[in-house]
């Protein structure tokens, strides 16, 4: 009894609450990255290795536009658009010729793209991390911390973007075409849907979402050329844990994994906390290889 009380008293409740908020904030950003990735996979059978680099380029475009205009929100919009266009161009040049070939070749092609983009960023912007200024300063007291409002804004904005995207998929003409292509590519083509352009659009939307999350996340950490890899790895884990091609599952998995990592970082260093998400992945593969957050397949 006394021992149990001691353990209860030893739990750092304040830290746990702070880490819960942190976990949800990073979880929302991760969900934004992963939903683009899972969309691209679900529709095009393409595992986009370059997704992290699109995230990183988004952040860099954000840095450049912010320096030129001083407006964070303009930077967010421009970065999203520019990277979406870049994504469309990349899809047309490299992925369209691979349509109908073994899906594994797309891994190779996107891996090549990621190498080129990463080294291009290193060449163009140098190895020193850049900083994006927070558009909203100030915070509110949370225990011993002054918790920045901006973090909550990020979480909210991510939720808004994902929600808008969901509505687009549900009601927009192109959204309906995208869903039709997912269900049956050949039939969609027969009904007159421009399938190759749907693929391009999907890749562009995914790229734009990655770029938006890059700009939003930029103020929390420095922007550097290697930041993409961490995110693409995490997003891969999220996508596998949430079930490939499953939007809702990815969002749930993103928040779940980020929360676990945040809690783990109370006791171990953040570099080691990453192992928690690896363990979640292994357990998922052992118990439910189809994903934790999907209905049991019949």
């Amino acid at each position: 009894m006394a021992a149990a009380l001691e353990i209860l008293a030893a739990i750092p409740y304040d830290q746990i609450l702070i880490q819960t908020v942190n976990g949800i904030v990073t979880g929302m950003i991760l969900a934004l990255v992963a939903s683009g990735l899972t969309l691209i996979f679900g529709i095009m059978d393409v595992v986009n290795f370059a997704h992290g680099e699109l995230f990183m380029l988004g952040a860099y475009v954000g840095v450049v536009v912010l320096a030129a205009t001083g407006s964070f929100w303009l930077a967010l919009a421009v970065a999203t658009l520019v990277v979406a266009l870049l994504g469309a161009a990349l899809q047309i040049v490299t992925l369209r010729p691979l349509l109908g070939r073994d899906p594994l070749t797309t891994i190779l092609a996107t891996f090549g793209i990621s190498l080129v983009l990463q080294n291009y960023a290193l060449w163009q912007f140098g190895p020193v991390a850049r900083k994006i200024e927070e558009p909203i300063t100030g915070g509110f007291p949370l225990f011993y911390l002054e918790y920045p409002w901006y973090r909550l804004v990020i979480a909210g904005l991510s939720a808004v973007i994902i929600g808008a995207f969901w509505l687009f998929l549900k009601y927009g003409t192109w959204g309906i075409w995208i869903r039709a292509t997912t269900q049956d590519r050949v039939m969609a083509q027969a009904m007159g849907i421009p399938v190759p352009w749907v693929h391009t659009a999907v890749f562009a939307i995914g790229a734009g979402m990655a770029a938006a999350s890059g700009v939003l996340f930029g103020p929390l950490v420095g922007v550097n050329h290697a930041m993409g890899l961490d995110w693409v790895l995490k997003a891969f884990i999220v996508v596998v844990v949430g079930g490939m091609g499953n939007l809702g599952g990815s969002i749930a998995a993103a928040i779940f994994i980020s929360l676990l990592e945040s809690y783990a970082s109370i006791w171990v260093s953040p570099a080691q906390a990453v192992i928690v998400s690896f363990v979640v992945l292994i357990l998922t593969l052992l118990i439910r290889p189809t994903g934790l957050f999907v209905p049991t397949p019949k």
């Binding site: 092609a109 090549g112 190498l115 080129v116 790895l233």
Partner: protein, 317 residues
């Protein structure tokens, strides 16, 4: 006809090995070292060809096997004095085999893209462990050690010179090539190729596909570990950079450039990649991956069978 082309194959094989053996005597120091490195990276790429080319599983985690071979050798060389070559080889192989068993057990449950992602994430796990476990692995700085002597146990022992090191590497790589070639042509290798062609049908015939895949990953991992041991002996250090996923990515690039499913193709691919890197780093310094990456993408699109793809059936004779 068949007998004659087989004879031609072995004559060609003999000529290439002889040329590689003579090379260190005539090449200047820089290019000799370059050639030794090509052979080592080629062995790594060849080991992953067993999975990519013959079993149809793209592994993005070969850096873990390579790195564990390296750190296994490092452990043996640092703890036992005087450093013993064969103990290093043994420890490296055991380390790589252990990791390969662990990775194979989990990742072979999955196919295609999922396999690729899982192997990638496993290699990152080992990277994080090695990077953060500073007391044992030296963390970011890695480990440095002395090079062991070239020895035949209880009979003969002499320090490595540049030439004998090259010949040692060449002997190991040639032996590995012959073993891997034998494996791919054995009934076991035929089952692997039938898994590549049609996994469902292979299972329906009654082969325990999962068990075959686990053994394939382990074999591949052991040879990758051997490459790691050679690299450790050549460069006298082990660093976490070699466990990083970029090495796995380069391994896949070697395979695709040289031609998968040929075993020698990956070695040629490694040579081609390292030459490209050498050539482009003159102009682009550390950004050589921009042009090399573009060439790689173009090869994936326009030349999916790689440099030696045209000779695939001939080389597998």
């Amino acid at each position: 006809m068949k007998k004659r082309s087989r004879k031609a194959y072995w004559i060609g094989f003999g000529i290439v090995v002889a040329l590689l053996a003579v090379a260190p005597l005539v090449l200047p120091e820089f290019w000799r070292r370059f050639l030794t490195e090509i052979l080592i990276w080629g062995l790594l790429a060849m080991s992953s060809d067993l999975l990519i080319g013959y079993t149809g599983m793209i592994s993005f985690g070969h850096s873990a096997f390579f790195g564990l071979g390296m750190y296994g050798a490092a452990a043996a060389l640092l703890t036992v004095s005087p450093p013993n070559l064969w103990l290093a080889v043994g420890c490296g192989l055991v380390g790589a085999a252990g990791v390969a068993l662990f990775v194979a057990y989990f990742s072979t449950r999955l196919r295609d893209i999922y396999f690729a992602i899982t192997t990638l994430i496993f290699s990152q796990i080992f990277y994080v462990v090695i990077f953060t476990w500073t007391d044992v692995t030296g963390g970011e700085n890695g480990l440095t050690f002395r090079r062991p002597a070239l020895s035949i146990p209880w009979i003969y022992s002499t320090p490595f010179t540049n030439e004998t090191l090259h010949w040692f590497v060449l002997a190991v790589v040639t032996a590995s090539y012959l073993i891997l070639r034998r494996i791919t042509q054995s009934p076991f290798g035929m089952v692997l190729q039938s898994i590549r062609e049609n996994e469902g049908r292979t299972r329906a015939i009654g082969y325990p596909v999962e068990r075959y895949k686990v053994v394939a990953v382990m074999l591949s991992g052991v040879f990758a570990g051997l490459a790691g041991v050679l690299y450790a002996i050549q460069n006298r250090f082990a660093a976490p950079d070699f466990v990083y996923f970029l090495v796995s990515g380069e391994t896949v690039i070697f395979n695709v450039m040289g031609g998968i499913g040929t075993l020698v193709g990956p070695i040629v691919g490694a040579g081609f990649f390292l030459l490209l890197r050498e050539a482009f780093s003159r102009f682009f310094t550390e950004y050589y991956l921009i042009p090399v990456g573009i060439i790689f993408i173009a090869m994936v699109i326009f030349m999916p069978r790689g440099l030696l793809g045209f000779g695939r059936s001939w080389l597998n004779r």
